[in-house]
Symmetry: C2
Subunit: 149 residues, 2 copies
């Protein structure tokens, strides 16, 4: 088992214990699943994957657990597009997204300068940030080319 997974698992367990909550089989399954997931995922992906592998975890439980993991800062809702919510594990270096409105492609980017400017703004307002979401919508290179043809 990867080290990262262990660390997060312990963090989750510790948080649950502190709050008097329980570490159940379902919560373990959900945590493992999202840690396996590369990049973005939707709730529905998780639910269907459990179904596919005959793992008994209900949709409600996935929602309930994701809400805890959001609170804990282990996952973030990074994209809200067309009534869909895309989540991401918040462990790797944080990044933001370019979303193509034509094909739905998502390009990740990271800008340390933007992060810093955001922090400065928060300081100006005495605002204590927990997370942020920067989505730039538009047309990707490929779709622009398709239009030219």
């Amino acid at each position: 088992m990867a080290c990262l997974e262990e660390i997060v698992k312990e963090k989750f367990k510790k948080y649950l214990k502190e709050k008097g909550l329980r570490y159940t089989r379902q919560r373990e399954d959900i945590l493992r699943k999202i840690l396996e997931t590369k990049g973005h995922f939707e709730i529905e992906d998780i639910v269907l994957d459990f179904k596919k592998h005959n793992l008994d975890v209900s949709r409600s439980t996935v929602y309930r657990t994701l809400n805890i993991l959001k609170e804990l800062g282990i996952v973030n809702e990074v994209i809200k597009f067309k009534n869909k919510t895309l989540y991401e594990v918040a462990l790797k270096e944080h990044h933001d997204h370019l979303v193509c409105e034509k094909c739905g492609k998502i390009i990740e980017f990271h800008s340390e300068e933007i992060e810093e400017l955001q922090n400065n703004i928060c300081k100006d307002y005495n605002f204590k940030p927990t997370f942020h979401r920067l989505e730039i919508y538009g047309i990707c290179e490929d779709c622009q080319k398709k239009n030219e043809r």
Copy 2:
């Protein structure tokens, strides 16, 4: 009638004509209403306000028209928080938002530097941006103080 309103109205009419669509009483009412609105608004605000003033515009029509106005870039979905969508007229100087997770307060800010950095990133990826959304979630000054007590 303010000049700004006229300009937007003409833009809307022109767009509708180009697409073979019609400029109806309801579309006029909706456009007027959102131009009157200061700051953010929800669909529900608009619907209720029409009800209050005995103006006949159905919820469906508000949704349908807002979708056209989004396409046109006259309004943007600027905040997606707790399954609510907040819209904003995209005419004034663009700004971004700090959203307090405790009390829901929304603080607007504008940073020309962040805008520029975003534009640079789009250039790097040959991405043609139409709009963006930057939400910073966290705890506002007031709510931090309340917690200290």
